[in-house]
């Protein structure tokens, strides 16, 4: 006879007391419990280039890192500010072309070019997106998707900035280790920087804009300013990623405005877990290598992509990190009812 009812009980672990941001550390063990995941992540990313079998795969890691920066910027805008942006390609293209022009016509070295392109590109993208900031949800998404499509065609039609040939002869990084560790350092910098940002007072205001913009207005703050600030941070990150790509491929062309840069970060965020910032990074490190492995199947890899994405949306819509964090921070046990 097994008719007794059971249900699953979830308990927070002891050290997650009172608030999400407040921890009571009582021992080395608890300290390790908190720092271990962070340590594994940092160490994992840092040793990854050494574990790769060939230069080809090291390049894949670099590309994954670039997508990771882009995906984090998407996650910041979508899950912390409430702006769903499909403008990844817009940011990449703007940053890429700025870096390429600075490098080829002014001879500025790559490691100086990249930060300049990030800031200048961030300013340009923010100014261009300024009229769309009052839009929300799918409307903002549509407008941000129009920009890369339009800019690519403008370059093609007016035959400026190298036209369809693109800008050739962009200087590469000094060597492949600099390239590799520069992008890795950027991923870690932005990952921990953004995690910090969303928990300080300024970040709380950004999250408040997502939750309830009317109440932010009633608190005497201009939501347009905070949205513009968030867009500046996100587009600056995207432009930095674009500048890195240009220096890695030593070429800048219209394909920088390709929709891959808008779509893949979203797929990575869905798989990795939105709103965690680390989730999108993880998602990129899963999706980009898979995409490389499937390269020999040609366009069929898009099918594989779609299947993975659909499976996640249907069966684990919260994403890997949200699921993992819950399992890590909570006990589960069966109790009799």
């Amino acid at each position: 006879m097994n008719d007794e009812q059971r249900r699953k009980e979830r308990l927070d672990r002891g050290l997650k007391v009172r608030a999400d941001s407040l921890y009571a550390l009582m021992s080395w063990r608890e300290l390790g419990y908190l720092t271990l995941p962070r340590f594994v992540l940092i160490a994992g990313i840092l040793v990854m280039p050494f574990l790769m079998p060939s230069m080809y795969w090291q390049r894949v890691i670099s590309v994954a890192c670039i997508y990771a920066i882009l995906a984090m910027s998407f996650d910041l805008l979508a899950h912390y500010v409430g702006l769903v942006s499909l403008g990844g390609a817009f940011f990449i293209g703007t940053g890429g072309y700025i870096a390429a022009v600075l490098n080829t016509s002014l001879g500025i070295p790559p490691l100086v070019c990249i930060p300049i392109a990030a800031i200048a590109g961030g300013v340009i993208c923010t100014i261009l997106l300024l009229p769309c900031l009052p839009l929300r949800g799918v409307y903002f998404a549509i407008v941000t998707l129009m920009y890369p499509l339009a800019l690519g065609r403008v370059i093609e039609a007016l035959d400026i900035l190298g036209g369809t040939d693109g800008i050739l002869g962009v200087e590469s990084f000094p060597n492949r280790w600099v390239e590799q560790y520069f992008v890795i350092a950027m991923v870690l910098l932005f990952l921990f920087g953004l995690r910090r940002l969303v928990n300080v007072d300024l970040g709380l205001v950004l999250r408040a804009v997502k939750d309830n913009d009317q109440a932010v207005k009633a608190s005497g703050m201009s939501i347009a300013f905070f949205k513009a600030l968030a867009v500046f941070i996100a587009s600056g990150m995207g432009c930095l990623a674009g500048a890195c790509i240009v220096h890695i491929y030593m070429w800048s062309g219209i394909s920088l405005f390709a929709l891959d840069f808008s779509i893949l970060p979203i797929a990575a965020t869905v798989i990795g877990g939105g709103g965690t910032l680390v989730g999108p990074v993880l998602g990129c490190f899963i999706l980009v290598p898979i995409s490389e492995l499937l390269r020999e199947f040609g366009t069929l890899r898009i099918v594989a992509y779609s299947v993975i994405l659909m499976a996640f949306v249907v069966f684990r819509s919260e994403g890997i990190m949200n699921y993992g964090q819950r399992k890590y921070h909570q006990f589960e046990r069966w109790v009799k009812v």
Partner: protein, 262 residues
């Protein structure tokens, strides 16, 4: 009426399409008083608050705050000057704990300039000040309620949180849009002293209410609206005994109850 006028509403009209929501409405609010605005459903009470605080652009007319024309300014500028509001449908930041909800107003330019609630923002970190405000407004500190996610709080606490958000700015005028609605009798009973304490702090309160009995206890003066026009204004006793007000509210049990009770 010897009070200095802090807020003056002058000939304000508002049309939504062809509907006249407010028709040349004028009234004054004296510094430090509690003004009640009452009226049947659809009489334009919330529209008045929206027009004063800039959330809705008025069709014509002017609003003066301390003699300065604030009509047509964006809501955040008006809030920055010290005219804040609560929302009838509560608008907390659901994904944040209650005390973090108050970090946002404490971070605003006004709060950083003036120090926010009782100047506390200049002393310590905003989290502590947020918890202090919540304690003052009836969140029991020891019960961990201030640390709970806003999405898990019941209506009574959310209404208080709305008020707390206004108080955090150290405003000069608070416009309360139905803070009593949806609360139980005992919850309202504990809110009334809160309003009185806010008034004692020197803050002017404009209250839109349907709960007339409780409103008449705290309000110094009442403005009655009907179909977007001012029906009458006066002290609660005058309003209660006025024939036109009875007529406007005809059929409303609440008023019948209050009127007979009075």
């Amino acid at each position: 009426m010897s009070r200095e006028t802090i807020l003056r509403v002058e000939d304000v009209s508002k049309t939504f399409g062809g509907i006249l929501a407010l028709n040349r409405l004028s009234f004054d609010v004296g510094r430090g008083e509690v003004l009640g605005i009452i009226g049947p459903n659809g009489s334009g009470k919330t529209t008045v608050v929206n027009c004063i605080t800039g959330f809705v652009k008025m069709s014509s007319g002017k609003v003066f705050f301390k003699g300065k024309d604030i009509s047509g300014k964006p809501p955040h500028k008006i809030a920055d000057m010290g005219v804040t509001r609560t929302f009838q449908v509560m608008r907390p930041y659901y994904s944040l704990p209650a005390y973090k909800n108050l970090v946002i107003p404490l971070f605003s330019p006004r709060a950083r300039r003036t120090g926010g609630w009782r100047g506390g923002g200049k002393l310590g970190d905003r989290n502590t000040v947020g918890i202090d405000i919540l304690e003052e407004i009836g969140f029991e500190r020891d019960s961990f309620v201030p640390y709970k996610m806003a999405s898990t709080l019941p209506t009574g606490y959310l209404k208080r949180l709305e008020l707390a958000r206004c108080l955090a700015l150290q405003p000069e005028v608070i416009l309360c849009d139905e803070v009593f609605s949806g609360l139980s009798m005992s919850e309202i009973a504990s809110m009334v002293p809160l309003i009185e304490r806010i008034q004692m702090d020197g803050i002017t309160v404009v209250m839109i209410e349907h709960r007339l009995r409780e409103l008449f206890r705290v309000a110094n003066r009442i403005v009655v609206l009907n179909f977007g026009e001012k029906l009458m204004e006066g002290v609660p006793e005058e309003v209660m005994s006025d024939e036109r007000v009875r007529e406007a509210y005809f059929g409303s049990e609440e008023v019948e109850e209050v009127m007979t009770y009075a």
